[in-house]
Symmetry: C2
Subunit: 200 residues, 2 copies
């Protein structure tokens, strides 16, 4: 089964629902293109409740949405890492984004990328995005190192995996084509295979 | 000498200057975060002149800025390809972004990425970003194929190069650290080296 990241499960907790709606919206429209009104409409929350739940306003909401998206992927990665071979983990990481792009008509990308690209003036949110990327890289690094790969090399390849998949998502959205992500997935498979062979 | 992409040369042509200002601004603030007022202030253009030069308004300006950024990098790549080995071309492509990130305090990234991430509702601009990425990939593909690499593999590795450098720029901005780009640059060097060895 291919892991799916397109739809975060809805929740009845209004604060959590606003966070999920924000994560869904910024990955399509960016941070500046997502207004409080959009979040209220998408989440179905009462109009006055946003400042009740997020007293510091939009920067707080964006930060929470970034942490939510980051944690969501980290859990998916951790689960795969605990049960699968590194090549399969990397392939499934790329495939999960493939599903989002194809099913969503290339409208949505990664919420962390949105924050880094057009929300970097919100310092706490930007730091949350940086923490998220580092966490994903750390998870892959550990999983490679456990197979005997030198830690420095493991981190280097883990960074290539996260960077190239994130970059390929951007290319795929611009070109409205899955081809860039498929090509990158194939090359990453060769890189991970050769890394493991060298450490065997 | 490391190629430098941080400062597009100023010009006295007001239309061109507005396009350059827009490219500089969107790579820092995104498309939605860049207003006409920002472009007027940055370019020093007279207030009323923007609709004179861009009768279709902001989407036209963003499209032109995307084409300008795309062409700027394509020229830099072409020049390097005509005089250097593939490994050096790839290293310098990454290094040019390294210079932008370090000199600009991680404030600015790639204007094409901005358009793909938060400007994708502007269809012509998004297509210009897609054309730009494809052109860079084509240039690298041709240069690898000229060294005897199978065209399909050449395109695959070229896509990995552009995607992973673009992704690493995003990670570097989020983490305010050059480490992700440096790690990716090192891995790409190994990939290109192994691709060339296999075709020798």
């Amino acid at each position: 089964m291919t892991p799916v990241i397109i739809g975060f499960m809805p929740t009845k907790d209004p604060r959590k629902q606003m966070i999920r709606s924000t994560a869904l919206l910024i990955r399509e429209r960016g941070v500046e293109g997502t207004s409080f009104a959009d979040v209220i409409e998408h989440s179905g929350a009462p109009r006055g409740s946003i400042y009740h739940h997020f007293p510091e306003g939009k920067p707080e909401l964006i930060e929470e949405a970034t942490r939510f998206g980051s944690e969501y992927i980290a859990r998916m990665l951790s689960k795969d890492i605990s049960t699968r071979e590194p090549r399969s983990v990397v392939r499934r990481f790329a495939q999960s984004w493939r599903g989002l792009l194809k099913d969503g008509g290339f409208a949505a990308g990664c919420p962390l990328v949105a924050v880094a690209v057009d929300g970097s003036h919100m310092k706490a949110a930007r730091e949350a995005a940086g923490d998220g990327f580092e966490r994903w890289v750390d998870l892959l690094t550990d999983s490679f190192a456990e197979r005997g790969v030198d830690r420095r090399r493991a981190r280097s390849v883990a960074t290539l995996v996260i960077s190239s998949v994130e970059g390929a998502i951007v290319l795929a959205r611009a070109e409205q084509s899955i081809a860039p992500l498929d090509r990158v997935t194939k090359e990453l498979d060769l890189v991970v295979e050769s890394m493991l062979d060298q450490s065997a």
